[in-house]
């Protein structure tokens, strides 16, 4: 399964009325992320949350930024897939323009991206936005 776009995800999730289906969908989205290679999962790329950890590798591909991400927790992987639907292979300007908080609000998942959650997601979003705001050579 390839990752749907963020609009499509908002629409998909709005069809479910029970939380189990919503989380099952998110878990399945997470499974569509390609796993990172063990060599790529270095200490420097590790964002340690107090409950789960996330690895993030970024590469510049022409005008776009490409990310490899993985968490040791499957629901966090699902949430990462939601983030990737917004940021993957986008230009820095597109990334900076995207309203990530509004997006998570629309998904009714803002609790999970709040700074207080120890899942590393907020830190990942911060890192990606930092990368996007750095001037390119």
């Amino acid at each position: 399964m390839t990752l749907p776009g963020s609009d499509e995800i908002i629409e998909d999730l709005s069809f479910f009325d029970d939380w189990e289906q919503r989380y099952q969908y998110i878990i399945d989205l997470g499974k569509s992320l390609s796993p990172m290679t063990p060599e790529d999962k270095t200490e420097e790329r590790l964002v340690r949350g107090c409950q789960s950890s996330v690895w993030l590798k970024s590469t510049v591909q022409g005008e776009h930024l490409h990310f490899d991400v993985e968490s040791d927790a499957i629901i966090v992987n699902g949430l990462l897939a939601l983030v990737m639907a917004a940021y993957q292979d986008k230009s820095p300007a597109q990334i900076l323009a995207f309203d990530i908080d509004g997006y998570f609000q629309a998904l009714d998942l803002e609790r999970h991206i709040s700074p207080t959650r120890g899942n590393g997601l907020r830190a990942i979003v911060g890192t990606i936005r930092n990368l996007a705001s750095q001037p390119r050579q």
């Binding site: 189990e20 989380y23 878990i27 949350g49 409950q51 789960s52 927790a73 499957i74 629901i75 966090v76």
Partner: protein, 405 residues
Amino acid sequence: MSLDLNGLRAQFPILSRQVDGKPLVYLDNAATTQKPQAVIDALVNFYTQCNANVHRGAHALSDEATRRYEQARDVVADFIRAGSRQEVIWTSGTTEAINIVANGMAQRLQPGDEVLVTEMEHHANLVTWQQACLRSGAQLKVAPILDSGELDVDAFNALLSPQTRFVALPHVSNALGTVNPIQSLTASAKAAGALVLIDGAQGIAHGQVDVQAIGCDFYAFSGHKLFGPTGIGVLWGRQTILEDWPVWQTGGEMIAKVSYECATWGTLPNRLEAGTPNIAGAIGMAAAISWFMSLDVAAVQAHEKALLASATEQAQAFEGLKIIGTAKDKIGVLSFVLDGSHPADVGFILDRQGVAIRTGDHCAQPLMRRLNVPGTARASFSIYNSLDEVDVLFKALKKAQSMLA
């Protein structure tokens, strides 16, 4: 007398709220306990009736606030059977209490000295001693645990020597629920000539703590894990030791005489309590203790035992679940992992069902490494939990297991 659980629960307003449309099942009591109305009332009453600074004002409110604040100290002294009220030092919590002792000790330790802790420490009782050793050149020794999560008492005793100046250990492990035989461990440590601190953060909420009977030199605990407010806690220490303990913070309240060149310190307990204290917190903590002491301790303890027994029995019967920490003497905590599932995912799915637990390393990273787990899911029980709630936990776990498969 048996426990009127419904009556008890009714005293905790928060227990009737819902989370995501489901009744809250609060099983994160080792992190912090909920507060009974009596404590909430004490806080509201203080701020509505007699808020003033203590020990300073020349007016009625200040007198009243000071009286209530100092009475709160008496309540704590009684509760833990302190030798005197001077032995009760208000702190912001267990962490600050341990820091006062570790900082003082760092000034007295020398290269060649040893400090002994255990493999089941909370970071509050580990990093503090590690840093005190780094500053003083003393060596940190760590007494190992067995796979069951019990302290290896023989190894602990073998690590005691004339070099052992200080021993710090938990009354009850927050991550595993292991109850340590603190009385006999303290006796061995004292026989070796060491000072002994018991981290009572988890031990305090489960019944009578008698610091004289334990025989330790320091006992540290937090109000918020004992049905009281956050931001208040206690360092109990022997008067003869605290009398000349290196001061921790300097400033108002703790001095006797001040000139531009020097200052002399006041007497206990004030010498270790710089600045305006957490007055409402102290009063709230005393209200919590008075409330707790009004319960039938034997009934409360029997109920807590029944909760953990039911949880343990259901956990043992649960396919794919592994209990982390199987000490014979355990209280309040069921730590576990589900085969093939990350604890964070388990916590997540439980949360959606209104069941609040904690997942992660429980501020005990070296312990998690020792047990070879990335973390655990931890359900921790308090006196107001019901056996029905234990059943809800396991129903919710079944769902988590099927969703995460």
